[in-house]
Symmetry: C2
Amino acid sequence: MLSNDGDEFHFCSTCAFSQACLSEGMDKSALKDLHVLVEHIGPFHAGDHIFREGDPFEAIAAVRAGTVKTCVVDRDGREHVLGFHFPGEVIGLDAIDGDQYPCNAVALDTVMLCRFSFPRIAVLAARMPGIQKQLFRLLSRDIGRAALLAGDWSADQRMAAFLIGLSRRLSERGFSATRFQLTMARTDIANFLRLAPETVSRVLRRFEGDGLLRVDRRDMELLDPDALMVLAAPVLRE
Amino acid sequence: MLSNDGDEFHFCSTCAFSQACLSEGMDKSALKDLHVLVEHIGPFHAGDHIFREGDPFEAIAAVRAGTVKTCVVDRDGREHVLGFHFPGEVIGLDAIDGDQYPCNAVALDTVMLCRFSFPRIAVLAARMPGIQKQLFRLLSRDIGRAALLAGDWSADQRMAAFLIGLSRRLSERGFSATRFQLTMARTDIANFLRLAPETVSRVLRRFEGDGLLRVDRRDMELLDPDALMVLAAPVLRE
DNA sequence: CGAACACTTGACAGCCCTCAACGTGAGTGG
DNA sequence: CCACTCACGTTGAGGGCTGTCAAGTGTTCG
């Protein structure tokens, strides 16, 4: 999955840092400093670890292309998926407190990243209020996002909220809102939604029977986003 | 519930901002600026709203005394408890993104607060790296904390994790780790843990029968913290 | 004293997990 | 080209945990 045709400017305009990176009103030398400290890294391939739980925290990163899964593995060996991250979204923010990454980050397909050394961007943030504000907002946003799926929702509501969330985030970045590839396995979706893989299968099958969507392997098409929205509304608080 | 006998210095040393407020190595004038922008507000009484969902975001606040509950109310009128906040802990961080509070904050008993205007503390953070760092850490910590109870844990595991969490946070602030008052109703606990109130009753009753704790109305004594810890371990990731 | 509320206890049902088996598609080597 | 393997996904049967409903008890407060 690529952000688009590779156009540098267009990617940056859809990135979560865009307000900081592209700002025109900022101090010129500071803006240059920001661009200098960005490192383009990758490609990572499906299954590659970007960082592992316990690694020393040095940098946050914006996804340029591909999908990143963050997860932890408990002592019984069971995996818990914490989130999926698409182009423009930022990973590593939960590592600031503790000075080490609290989870693993794994590439689900071919992934490219913009890496920002955290000590250096923090110093820059002190000089550039726009960057500080953007960092505060990104951190604050993740607090609310983490709480969304914590409710006691039904399997149908969780799945609908997951699909609507996917649709919105992808369309915000310039992808189709109704047709997209699921880059993660059913097991990952189940793990993220705190459901059994079998339940995920059954719910998708039923949604398909009800005409809400069409799904063939990883090819997903939302046929009735409004009906899904009704199901997802309480989860998304709307 | 008071932080202690009212000693100003002791409260500040147990507050989440302590590293910033009490730092000796900082620039003197900046440190004075921080102390100047702190407003002591309250008292709020049980049931009082400190802020409401949708209120314009202007300030974050550290709890000085008492317990604050944060919650949202969905369109069906059902309340969802997002968290409980004890002396030394900071509320309002999830409001930075969106510029308005995303939840209600309600006093459960007599509450006193240290209020920090956010625009002013953000300006100060740009001059004082220690304050910026502390803010980043507090925000980052809340991301991880919100994810804890999102797992698919059993009622026993949730309750044990809740009690161990309470015990730790209270003892960190100088209260007893094994005996404390529950400042919230059973309904609030149930709502927070995503359980039915009846289930909370049953689990507490069973824990009491198993000798894990003793509970009389809101008076709680942990008799076997180690056994509770074993139950809570997977939830707390230890 | 009465009413409202919080909490407890019991019976029952429903959702979803577990276990098991089967189907399907991709990659591999002969 | 085909058989084989293996991971992934689907489908079915059964059971356990916990929510729902209902009734009862105890406490607080007007």
